[in-house]
C-alpha cells in the first residue's frame, strides 16, 4: 500500500470479493501452462544438486548403507571427480543374488550413463526418462562433470512450485490493480483503456473486449458487472468490425463509481437511428450472418446490459456510441468508501 493512503481496515465485502471471485478463464489455462513450463524450466532449477556419491573401490554394502540412510534408490559413481557410472538398488539386488555384498562397486555398477545437461529444458529430461525407462538421471554441466541428479518427482515438484509462483503473481497483480483507485490520490482518477479496431477483422474480433473484461476483473469489479460490460463492449466491437468503412476506436474509462465505454468511427454513419434500435433490424451481409452475428440484436443487447446508452451519428461522417454502467456502492471494490 502507498504510505500516502490513509490506513483503514478492509471491509468484509472487499475481502470476500477478492476470495470469491471466479478465475475461470485463467484457471483452466494452467494445464497448457504446464507444457510451457516444460520448456521454460531448466534442469538445474529442479534437480537435486546436493548429491551423495559412491567410489568404484567402495564395497557394495557401504553403498547400501548410503541408500538406506538417505532414502534414495541410486547414486552416481565418481572416480577421481570423473563420472564412472551409476549404482542403483537394481545393481545391488544383482550383487545380493550373487551373494557378493562385499564386492566392489566397480564390479556391479551400470557404466552406460544416461545424462542430461543442467541447462537443458526439463522436457529433455522427460524425453530421456521415457526413452531410457530409468527412474533417475545424472545431470552434468557443460564440461561433463557431475552437477546433480534428477528424478520425475523433482520435475513434478518443480512444476508445481512454478505454477504456485504464477498463481501468486496473478493474485498480486489483481491485488495491486484493485488498490489502484485507493493508492492514487486525486480529485478524480480515471483509467482509460483504448483499442484500435480494424474493419472486417473477424479473426481478432472480441480480443479488445476480452482484454477489457479481464482488466475489470483484475481491478476488482464484481463478476456480474464485468460480464455486463464484456457483453456490451463485445457487441460494440463487432459493430465496428462489421459495419464501419475503416474500423474505429474502442475506449473504456474506468472510475471508482462508473465504467464508461465508447466506440467512435468515421463512417458510413447511420441514416435512421430509430430503425437500428429496433430488435431484428439488420443491414449485415450474409457472410456476417453465417458467423452468428447480424441478427439485429446488437444495440438492443447493449441497451439491456448498460445503465445508459447514447448513439450519435451523421451519414458520411461517422458514429459515436457511448455506454455507461454505474457501480453500486455495495457492489464493488472499485469503489472507495
Amino acid at each position: 500500500m502507498n504510505p500516502m493512503a490513509s490506513p483503514r481496515a478492509l471491509s468484509e465485502q472487499e475481502i470476500h470479493g477478492r476470495r470469491g471471485r471466479p478465475i475461470t478463464d485463467r484457471d483452466a489455462t494452467d494445464i497448457s501452462r504446464v507444457e510451457e513450463l516444460s520448456y521454460e524450466l531448466k534442469v538445474h532449477e529442479v534437480m537435486t544438486s546436493d548429491v551423495r556419491v559412491a567410489a568404484p573401490d567402495m564395497p557394495i554394502s557401504e553403498v547400501l548403507e548410503i541408500l538406506r540412510t538417505n532414502r534414495i534408490s541410486g547414486v552416481p559413481v565418481l572416480d577421481n571427480e570423473r563420472l564412472a557410472g551409476v549404482i542403483s538398488i537394481e545393481d545391488i539386488v544383482r550383487a545380493m543374488r550373487d551373494g557378493k555384498l562385499s564386492a566392489l562397486v566397480s564390479e556391479y555398477m551400470t557404466r552406460k550413463l544416461v545424462t542430461v545437461l543442467s541447462y537443458d529444458p526439463i522436457f529433455k529430461a522427460l524425453q530421456a526418462f521415457t526413452e531410457s525407462r530409468l527412474g533417475r538421471l545424472v545431470v552434468v554441466d557443460e564440461n561433463g562433470r557431475l552437477a546433480g541428479m534428477i528424478t520425475k518427482g523433482d520435475i513434478t515438484r518443480g512444476v508445481l512450485l512454478a505454477l504456485q509462483r504464477d498463481y501468486k503473481e496473478e493474485e498480486l497483480r489483481r491485488y495491486r490493480a484493485s488498490h489502484l483507485f485507493e493508492d492514487i490520490i486525486s480529485d478524480r482518477t480515471t483509467l482509460v483503456l483504448r483499442y484500435n479496431i480494424k474493419a472486417q477483422d473477424f479473426i481478432h474480433g472480441g480480443n479488445a473486449s476480452s482484454h477489457i473484461k479481464r482488466a475489470l476483473l483484475r481491478l476488482g469489479a464484481d463478476p456480474q458487472i464485468a460480464r455486463r460490460c464484456g457483453i456490451a463492449v463485445y457487441e460494440a466491437e463487432m459493430n465496428l468490425i462489421i459495419h464501419t468503412n475503416r474500423g474505429g476506436i474502442l475506449k473504456t474509462e474506468v472510475e471508482p463509481h462508473r465504467i464508461t465505454m465508447s466506440t467512435v468511427d468515421d463512417g458510413p454513419g447511420i441514416p435512421n437511428i430509430e430503425q437500428v434500435l429496433q430488435a431484428g433490424y439488420s443491414t449485415a451481409s450474409e457472410q456476417v450472418r453465417e458467423m452468428g452475428f447480424g441478427a439485429g440484436m446488437g444495440l438492443v443487447n447493449i441497451k439491456r446490459c448498460v445503465d445508459k446508452m447514447e448513439i450519435e451519428s451523421a451519414v458520411g461522417k461517422g458514429t459515436r456510441l457511448t455506454m455507461r454502467i454505474h457501480i453500486p456502492e455495495q457492489n464493488s471494490s472499485l469503489q472507495k468508501d
Binding site: D27, S32, G205, R227, G292, A295
Partner: protein, 119 residues
C-alpha cells in the same frame, strides 16, 4: 452436472484434451445466433451451437460459459481451437443435432439456462 458426465451423455469427443473437464456446469443453452447467446443466457453453463468460428469462443468467454458443444459432429476451425486453448474453454463435438442433444442433456438432469434478460 459435471462436464465429464455431459460429454458422456452427448456421446461427445473432447477436442481440447489438455483442458480439465472436471468442472461443474449449472445449465445448458443452445443457439446459433451469438447475439441471442449474449442476450438470453446465464453464466456458468454449456453452449450448444452449430457455429464453429472463433467468435463462438469469444462469445462464450464474454457470457461466462464454461464449455462449448458443437452439434452434428461439427469440427471447429483451427483459429477457434487455438483461441479456446488460450482461454481455457473446453470444446466438445457431439454427433447429435440441436434438438436431440438438448433433449438428452435435459433428460439427464441438466436445466435449461435460457432467461429473459441479462442476469
Amino acid at each position: 452436472m459435471n462436464l465429464t458426465k455431459i460429454i458422456k451423455v452427448a456421446d461427445g469427443v473432447l477436442l481440447t484434451p489438455d483442458i480439465d473437464t472436471d468442472i461443474e456446469i449449472r445449465g445448458g443453452y443452445g443457439a446459433d445466433l451469438m447475439s441471442d447467446v449474449l442476450a438470453f443466457s446465464q453464466p456458468e453453463c454449456v453452449l450448444l451451437t452449430g457455429l464453429t468460428n472463433p467468435q463462438v469462443v469469444r462469445t462464450a468467454q464474454m457470457a461466462d460459459f464454461r464449455a462449448i458443444i458443437f452439434i452434428r459432429g461439427k469440427k471447429p476451425q483451427a483459429e477457434t481451437l487455438s483461441l479456446a486453448l488460450q482461454e481455457g474453454i473446453p470444446l466438445i463435438s457431439s454427433p447429435y443435432g440441436m434438438f436431440e442433444l438438448s433433449a438428452r442433456l435435459h433428460k439427464a438432469g441438466l436445466p435449461s439456462f435460457e432467461s429473459n434478460g441479462v442476469s
